[in-house]
Amino acid sequence: MKKELDYKWTDFESGYVIPNPGNSREYRTGDWRSQRPIFDRKRCIQCGVCWIFCPDCAIRFDAEGYAEADLDYCKGCGICARECLPGAITMVAEEE
C-alpha cells in the first residue's frame, strides 16, 4: 500500500476516485487521541457494553474474551469508561 506522502499530483485517478474502496481501515485515526482507556481485567465481566457504546468500533476482545481498545482507531472519547458497569475502564492521559 502506497503511503500518502508518496502520491504525486499525477498519481490520482481522475476525480480522485478510489478504485479500491473500503480502504479507510488503512488510515489510522488513533493519533488524534489525548487520553486512552486502561482496562482492568480483574473487574471486567465480559458483558460487551463498551463494545456496544464505542462510536468508533475500536473495542475488541482478546483470546480470553476480555475487552481491550484498538489503539489504532480509539479516539479516547471516554464513553466506554463512562458506560462500563463494573468500572473496569479508566481513562489516562496519553503521555502517562
Binding site: E4, Y7, F12, S14, G15, Y16, V17, P19, Y27
Partner: protein
C-alpha cells in the same frame, strides 16, 4: 444541412439538449431560465426525448441529481439563474472536482438584494472559480451550438469536466432569433455516445467524493487545475470540427475590426453585438476602434488574449458584475493581471455597465471610448467606474 428557423433562444437551447439525447434532466424553475426546462419537460412528456425528468425541490438538489446521474454514466443537463445558481453552488464545486461532465445553461441574472430578475453577470461571477469550463454566448446560434459543443468537450476522455454555457437572461433567453438547427445525423456525427471510464456500479465498486487529508489535498487541487488548463486543445479541436460540420467557426477571443485599432472595446456575452454597431459607427468616422469578444472564460485563453490585446493603446473593458471594494469588474481585473508582465501593455479602462438589463446602447460604447481616450491623456481617476449611474 440544418434547418433555418425563427425560434426563442430558450427553446433553441432545449432543442440542442434533445439532439444531444440526454438521459437525465433535473432542474428547478427560476426566471429567466424557465422556458428551457418547460420545453424539455414537454419533450419528455410527449415522448420526443427518452430521458428521466426529475422535478427537484431546489437547485441544490438539481445539481446533486445531475452529479449522481453522471456518476452512473448518464448524460445529464440542468439550467438555472441567479439565486438558483448560488443555492446550488455547494454542489457545483463538487461536480467539477469529481470530474463529472454535466452541462448547465445559465440564463444570467442579477443577484439579490434588491431583487432583480433582469440580466447581468453577477450570478456566474459568484462561482467564477468553480472549476467548470465556461463559455459566454453572444446570440441564439451560439447558445444552440455550445450546448452540443459542451457535451463533446466535457465528455472528452482528455477533459472530463462539467461545462457552463452562459447566456444573457431575457436579452437572449426570451428573444426570437433566426438560427440554424442541426439534424440528428449531423449531431450524432459530432457527438459520440457518453462513455465514462469509471462509473458507480455495485458489481465493480469504487468510492467517489471521499475525504483527503492535508497531506494530499494540495496535490488533488493541482491535478484539478491542470485538468482545466489542459482542456484547451480539446476545446479548440471541438470548435474546429464543429466549424467543419456547420461552417460556424468559434474562437476563444473573437476580434471585430481590430486591424490597427488603437482602442479595443472588450465585451463578454450578448452586448458584443451592440458593441459591433458602435465600432462600425466609430470606424465610419475614421476612429481607430475595434472590439474583442471573450467567448471562453475558463480556461482563460491567455495566449489568444495577449496576442489580440497587446497591439492596442487602450482597452475599454465592459464588465457586467461588481466586485465591491475590489480592483474593478472581474473581467477587467483578470485582463490587467494577464497583461502585467507584458513589456508593452495597453491602458485598461474599466466600466461596469448593463446591471439588471440596463440598456447599453451603441452611443454608450462611444461615450466609454471617448472617456477612455481622455483618461489616457489626462491620467486615470479610478480603477473602475460604474457607468451611467445617476448622481
Amino acid at each position: 444541412m440544418g434547418k433555418r428557423v425563427g425560434m426563442e433562444v430558450s427553446f433553441a437551447a432545449s432543442e440542442a439538449v434533445k439532439l444531444a439525447n440526454v438521459d437525465v434532466i433535473a432542474a428547478y424553475p427560476i426566471t429567466p431560465q424557465t422556458h428551457i426546462v418547460e420545453r424539455l419537460s414537454e419533450f419528455v412528456a410527449n415522448g420526443e426525448l427518452d430521458a428521466e425528468f426529475v422535478p427537484v425541490e431546489s437547485e441544490h438538489s438539481a445539481m446533486s441529481v445531475c452529479s449522481g446521474s453522471e456518476a452512473v454514466g448518464a448524460r445529464s443537463f440542468t439550467c438555472t439563474s441567479s439565486q438558483g445558481l448560488i443555492l446550488m453552488s455547494e454542489i457545483v464545486y463538487c461536480t467539477s472536482a469529481m470530474r463529472l461532465p454535466v452541462v448547465m445553461v445559465i440564463a444570467n441574472r442579477s443577484l439579490s438584494n434588491p431583487i432583480s430578475i433582469w440580466n447581468d453577470h453577477t450570478d456566474v461571477m459568484s462561482i467564477r472559480d468553480c472549476g467548470w469550463i465556461q463559455y459566454f454566448a453572444e446570440n441564439g446560434q451560439d447558445v444552440f451550438d455550445h450546448v452540443l459543443i459542451s457535451y463533446r468537450v466535457g465528455e472528452d476522455r482528455d477533459v472530463m469536466l462539467p461545462v457552463i454555457v452562459n447566456m444573457d437572461g431575457f436579452n437572449l433567453s426570451h428573444v426570437i432569433e433566426p438560427l440554424e438547427l442541426l439534424d440528428q445525423d449531423a449531431v450524432d456525427r459530432f457527438l459520440p455516445p457518453y462513455e465514462p471510464s469509471v462509473v458507480l456500479d455495485p458489481a465493480h465498486p469504487v468510492t467517489m467524493g471521499a475525504i483527503v487529508l492535508p497531506t494530499c489535498y494540495t496535490e488533488t487541487k493541482k491535478a484539478q487545475d491542470e485538468a482545466v488548463k489542459s482542456s484547451m486543445p480539446s476545446i479548440l479541436k471541438a470548435w474546429q470540427e464543429f466549424g467543419d460540420l456547420t461552417g460556424r467557426y468559434y474562437h476563444p477571443i473573437e476580434g471585430y475590426r481590430t486591424d490597427g485599432a488603437e482602442v479595443l472595446l472588450v465585451t463578454m456575452g450578448g452586448i458584443g453585438e451592440t458593441a459591433m454597431w458602435a465600432v462600425d459607427q466609430m470606424r465610419e468616422k475614421g476612429r481607430s476602434v475595434g472590439l474583442l469578444k471573450i467567448r471562453l472564460w475558463r480556461p482563460f485563453p491567455f495566449e489568444a488574449f495577449r496576442r489580440a490585446a497587446t497591439k492596442a493603446k487602450i482597452l475599454v473593458v465592459v464588465d457586467r458584475a461588481v466586485s465591491y471594494g475590489g480592483p474593478g469588474g472581474p473581467v477587467a481585473s483578470e485582463l490587467r493581471s494577464a497583461l502585467y508582465h507584458e513589456p508593452k501593455r495597453p491602458l485598461v479602462v474599466n466600466f461596469i455597465a448593463g446591471l439588471a438589463s440596463r440598456d447599453v446602447a451603441p452611443f454608450d460604447f462611444i461615450e466609454m471610448v471617448d472617456r477612455a481616450e481622455e483618461a489616457c491623456k489626462m491620467g486615470m481617476e479610478a480603477e473602475y467606474e460604474i457607468f451611467g449611474v445617476r448622481a
